[in-house]
Point group: C2
Chain length 214, copies 2
DNA sequence: AAATATAGACCGACCGTCGGTCAATGGCTA
DNA sequence: TAGCCATTGACCGACGGTCGGTCTATATTT
């Protein structure tokens, strides 16, 4: 198939590599197709031969980033050092790795780019879809015997990733430095609380409350 | 002052009103300044006389929306019917009102608009900044006597609003209907868990764990 | 009271740039 | 040589934004 050949071609990967540098650095909206073309030394037609639209290029770039994150975190979880950690220790390991990596990718987190929210919100969405199951899988061992609690492990993971990323990442909203540090200090407690609540420490009153409603 | 006159003028409010209709309906990026101008029957120069850029118009529109939400929820909280509710009942009242209102504003939630994430992410940010304290204030009575728990009330509110909105609102990411309903079913439990953890039901082991780290 | 000056709301032709299109073409393989 | 890709770049309409200027209503001067 033609499309498949295109995706596996060198050009395709070259373009994605260039976009992976420019999109986060300059912002998605602020980066023009022309800039990419010039920096690659190719013609406009070539660009649109591989990517029918700028939106498609964005999606391919995000897919590339999220895929990389996925395998990285998966390998980290199955590494010999992390294998025998407790669920909450594993979770904190994953989260610290994630936020740490973000800081490395962005040289200047002072710089706010409102023309980048499109990329980041899409990226966060894909990230949640792909990696939330991974997060949820580490909750399971710590979870109590009640069926009810474990029914919402995935949603809990999604909830946590979404909340943390949106509130700590300056890419989606120009948070001030003090806002970010304030939240990062609160995060361990909030996660612990959420996890603790999940693991069945609660008395039955809570579960009754909820099951009654259904 | 000249600027102040402009903000209080009829024109200014007319333009915001028009943008409040078109931006959510067509999407921010997809709505051109020309469309707004034509629909208002004014000239381009007039538009840019009141708003120096499209981004500034967006911010004014979002401010308008969030302000309205703020007073609406504040009044709701102080209403005679809601005044003597328990914290978690109040919380669920606020959240249901919010999501219910969103559905009304958007006629088609099936329609996904990736060119609207810029507006929605900014709106969510402003919403959190303005309304999280309001949410946090209703947590306080249900909170235990420990100082530690109540120290993170604001962050807990921010965390909840961000997570819920991002995961349930199709404006920021094109979630499928099944994803949304799945999460909405999980929400009562997750909120209850988070609130319960806050209210001091926990044993001291959790608090010790966290205080040790500081 | 008439003439003149000032302010500011409003106009629309115009600009550079953007994302995107397409007919033409070079070069490789069968 | 025929056919197929990958590649080219001139070209397009629409976009956000600018700018010189008009018009009216109010203040100031005569």
């Amino acid at each position: 198939m033609t499309t498949e050949n295109r995706i596996n071609s060198t050009r395709y990967k070259e373009i994605i590599a260039a976009a992976r540098k420019l999109f986060p650095a300059k912002g998605y909206e602020a980066t023009s197709m022309n800039e990419l073309i010039v920096s690659l030394g190719i013609a406009k037609g070539t660009m649109y031969y591989y990517f029918p639209s700028k939106q498609c290029l964005l999606e391919a770039v995000v897919e590339d980033i999220v895929d990389e994150e996925f395998t990285r975190l998966k390998n980290l979880l199955h590494s010999s050092t992390a294998q025998h950690l407790s669920p909450d220790e594993k979770l904190r390991l994953l989260l610290s790795e994630y936020s740490g990596n973000q800081d490395n990718n962005r040289i200047l987190d002072i710089l706010n780019r409102p023309d980048n929210s499109r990329m980041y919100s899409y990226q966060l969405g894909r990230y949640i879809e792909k990696l939330a199951p991974l997060y949820a899988s580490i909750f399971a061992p710590g979870c109590g015997e009640g069926l009810f609690n474990s029914a919402y492990l995935l949603e809990c993971a999604e909830f946590m990733i979404a909340g943390i990323t949106f509130l700590v990442d300056p890419g989606l909203y120009p948070w001030s430095r003090s806002q970010i540090t304030r939240r990062m200090k609160a995060l361990p407690f909030l996660l612990e609380a959420q996890l603790g609540a999940l693991s069945g420490f609660f008395d039955e009153s809570l579960q009754n409350k909820n099951t009654n409603k259904e």
